[in-house]
Symmetry: C2
Subunit: 362 residues, 2 copies
């Protein structure tokens, strides 16, 4: 384990795809979506604690979630949790954390990661991260992790890479040619057919010096304001920086402009678990293709369904084919899997019902 | 209101047809099955408190439920709740309560009622009960309440009556010819076709003197042992009486033998609410024939279904036709309405799963 290695975990996400399991006040990263007994953030933290010292991990989240982070992960030092006053996408978030790391170690080699993705194959993951960290030590590059696509998913970002390996010491390391965010399905199919595209797993590795140069080149305003922040900057000053800051992602703000972007193919399994359908895809299935992720369940004549209820809750289902059955402490959802896209409507209808005491037309 | 009027509420029932809403430790009479905000026992008690003084109402229940009864109904005096040490069917239960009433008022006129039936039309109910009480004042008879059948329900008892009214002052009062418990459907259809049969609503009215004579004639052993009990009999002596007692219903033990059994046709609506199906039948339906009895619900493309979840719980359902969706604090059931008879199997499977930690074959 290298003391120069740092990790930035981005844990500010909100979102409601997994409603009612996830709600705005408890988004996906804080929930045990996978039924492992740990929240996705806890799993992510423990995963990176195998790669760098625990005190080198910085978690950036919305200020409203700071206490939640500290509840879920014991023994974090003050600088390890940074609370953003408002959402400004990933470029400001990474710049803030990078500036706090710079205070401690200007020579840091930094992994930036989402907090709510699923990783399968921990040994491969550690091996890949170590290889990536070695590559960014050798090259002044921004290294992204690519996943070989298995289907033309239109919700992912696609990375086109040059076939030629960059480096004889890492034959799975390629130069990036283009990034394409959420392509139409026809285009996604073509991408896959060429064999020259990866899914973007959202994990970047770069040295702090590379990172700072890239921000200064492509996002100079963000560099100027955020690189002035330290772990002891008063909250009001952090608020000012965020208030005046543009909102932009690392992908759009830097990756698409920089020349020195490489991609390494992951040897581990990955899912961004962004929908019930993707969770169904990675869940362990019984002989009737049901995925019971959480809850004590008895299923009779139930097929192709996914079940996620609190672990202390018993659920008895009969006569369902292709359903989502999900519950939290106060809400129950039973809906067809092919109807998942309507959940956002259900959420606003429930809010309407609870706020006005009236039922929307259905 | 006549101070001679007493009421015996039989609240010892257990049973699991409404699982998971009802369980052995909280059977139907203690639950708000109808979504009224009151348990069925509370509703029954308040209903009879309009007919006789509150302190004239005796509730007989299993000893394990005595505290539950006192929690649900405020201000009950010690003699008003009798705890049976074991189940001996209705004849012992009624004899015990009748003996306690006899202590207080040998001239009592007594209504015996289940605690877990639904009554619709309170004014008619009060009117019918008053008429029944007047009839038993005039006649030395056992008066049962009959309900005009609407379908050949095979789970009910049927009462064949003589067309001729007994009494010019109550033209809805008839002599009973036969009792038939749970007939086959073909027979039930014939019964209905003749127009000479009522459903047995399980409510009896009789003077205490009539009741005691009937027990002494047809159930002399029960009369001898139970009529010796008083409200201050030590628990151990009550236990002895129950331990040595036969187990028999008032219907089989007395009604089927006695000559002076009359039936009065109810002018109120009635259901014994003995199944999800019967609850569905009496629930208020929306325009898609859904009965949401309890819970805050949003239904999308849902038809012919019944929903009963805790009142503070939200339930969102989509794409269901003909289902039961029921939950208590720790269990959720989703099952086809036409599969209700399997619920008893589900219950034993859940018990097996929870006790042995293994799932039964499904």
């Amino acid at each position: 384990m290298n003391n120069n290695t740092y990790c930035i975990i981005m844990a500010g996400g909100f979102g409601s795809r997994f409603w009612p399991i996830c709600k705005d006040d408890s988004p996906k990263q804080f929930i045990d979506i996978l039924g492992t007994g740990q929240s996705m953030l806890q799993t992510t933290f423990e995963r990176f604690a195998c790669i760098c010292p625990r005190e080198n991990i910085i978690i950036v989240t919305n200020r409203g979630y700071v206490d939640r982070v500290r509840e879920q992960i014991d023994g974090l030092l003050p600088y390890q949790v940074l609370g953003e006053p408002t959402r400004r996408n990933t470029a400001p978030c990474v710049a803030y954390a990078a500036s706090v790391i710079y205070e401690m170690n200007p020579n840091a080699n930094v992994i930036v990661t989402p907090s709510d993705h699923a990783i399968f194959g921990m040994e491969n993951f550690i091996h890949d991260m170590e290889q990536a960290l070695q590559a960014t030590e050798r090259h002044d590059c921004i290294l992204t992790i690519g996943v070989r696509p298995t289907n033309p998913n239109v919700k992912y970002g696609y990375i086109q890479f040059s076939e030629e390996p960059v480096d004889a010491r890492a034959t799975n390391l390629h130069k990036v040619i283009t990034f394409t965010e959420k392509p139409p399905v026809v285009m996604a199919r073509q991408f896959i057919a060429t064999g020259e595209f990866f899914w973007n797993a959202g994990i970047f590795v770069w040295r702090l010096s590379t990172l700072r140069k890239a921000y200064e080149a492509f996002l100079p305003n963000i560099a100027k304001s955020y690189f002035a922040l330290t772990s002891s900057t008063p909250q009001a000053d952090v608020d000012n920086v965020y208030a005046l800051s543009e909102s932009i992602s690392v992908d759009f703000g830097i990756m698409e402009h920089a020349e020195n972007v490489y991609v390494m193919e992951a040897s581990f399994g990955w899912s961004d678990v962004e929908s019930w359908d993707s969770l169904y895809g990675i869940a362990r299935h019984d002989e009737h293709n049901n995925g019971v992720v959480m809850g004590k369940s008895l299923l009779y004549d139930v097929k192709n369904s996914i079940v996620h209820v609190p672990s202390n809750r018993t659920v008895v289902l009969q006569g369902l084919d292709g359903y989502i059955v999900a519950a939290n402490e106060d809400t129950i959802l039973v809906c067809r899997r092919d109807n998942e896209d309507c959940i956002v409507k259900y959420i606003s209808d429930v809010e309407l019902m609870n706020s006005r005491g009236e039922k929307p037309r259905q």
